[in-house]
Amino acid sequence: MAWNLDSDRPIYTQILERMEMQIVSGIYKPGSKVPSVRELAAEAGVNPNTMQRALAELERKGLVTTQRTSGRVVTEDMEMIRETRNTLAKEQIQDFIQRMKELGFEKEEILALIKSEAGGELV
């Protein structure tokens, strides 16, 4: 099975996260066609109804739109994609901070650590 899914979290949530990630990171390019539910379900090895629900949610969020001629396509609204990207980034950072706090780091320590660790890359 191509998609590596956790066994203890709802599949629907994981599919959604993964699809968002693929759109934001440009694996599914803006305006490109999204494969059919069945193809995606087969590729991921998941239930087609669950895949359908995840795609419907992406559609509700506006990341995917349905066109009469070509089925589902990835949105070309770059603003929307950027926003989603920011949201995902924020979620990652919050998760990160949460875990650092669990390790006993203070805010300043965390910032200093990030600077020293990623310094080369950031500057």
Binding site: S7, D8, R38, E39, A42, G45, N47, P48, N49
Partner: protein, 233 residues
């Protein structure tokens, strides 16, 4: 009539002493992939045989599309038993002709396409094929129907991981939105991602019927892990 399968107070007693099903009642909706899970001897195969008209229950009823198992239901149910039931003297293409003759919903082109993709020659006789290939031929025949209900008894037991993936893919791509797939297995972790719902049975009784997502959400664990917990010895 909205439910595809309606089982009520189904009881099966073998030889007047061994109870395989005990007043079992459940319903199975349309358009779902449902896992029938339970330890060995829990009554899975007995239920499956009754739904296919291979066994007459001691009491209670099992209805498919509102009818008792019989010629009308058999025309709408596609069944993959644990056994290989293919006549060994027949060629693959003769089997395709056989299925085309008897099942109005059988799609020979679909079967041929799948055979080609697996590199199975239609002119081969069943007796010349390996056990694994025979099982694949049987799965292809069963999945090439546009049935209302697919009943697959242990479809992935005893096959290698590559074949397992192929079988799972075949199930996903071949069933249509209005059809239901009922599959029994003890290899839950391999198959739980493709299930909508699971039915747990034990000693012929219904233990639980729930959606996979509900179990994961509410218990915070996989169906496989939850199954182990429920049936812990």
């Amino acid at each position: 009539m909205s439910e595809l399968v309606n089982v009520s107070n189904l009881t099966m007693v073998y030889d007047k002493r061994k109870t395989a099903l005990n007043e079992l009642s459940l319903t199975i909706p349309r358009g779902k992939i449902v896992g029938l899970l339970g330890p060995n001897g829990s009554g899975k195969t007995t239920l499956i045989k009754i739904l296919n008209g291979l066994l007459c229950p001691t009491s209670g009823t099992a209805l498919i599309n509102g009818s008792k198992p019989g010629p009308e239901t058999k025309a709408r149910v596609s069944y993959l038993p644990e056994r290989t039931y293919l006549q060994t003297g027949m060629k693959v293409k003769e089997l395709i002709a056989y299925f085309t003759d008897f099942y109005a919903d059988f799609k020979p082109e679909r079967a041929k396409e799948m055979l080609t993709s697996l590199g199975i020659d239609e002119n081969d006789r069943i007796k010349t094929l390996s056990k694994g290939t025979r099982e694949k031929v049987q799965l292809i025949l069963v999945m090439s129907r546009d049935a209302d209900l697919f009943i697959l008894d242990e479809p992935i037991a005893g096959v290698d991981p590559a074949a397992r993936d192929y079988i799972i893919k075949t199930i996903i791509t071949n069933y249509n939105e209005n059809a239901t797939v009922l599959l029994s297995t003890h290899l839950i972790s391999d198959i739980e991602n493709i299930l909508d719902e699971v039915i747990f049975i034990k000693n012929g009784n219904l233990v639980l019927q729930a959606t996979v997502e509900d179990i994961r959400e509410q218990k915070g664990k996989s169906v496989d892990a939850y199954f182990r917990e429920v049936f812990a010895c």
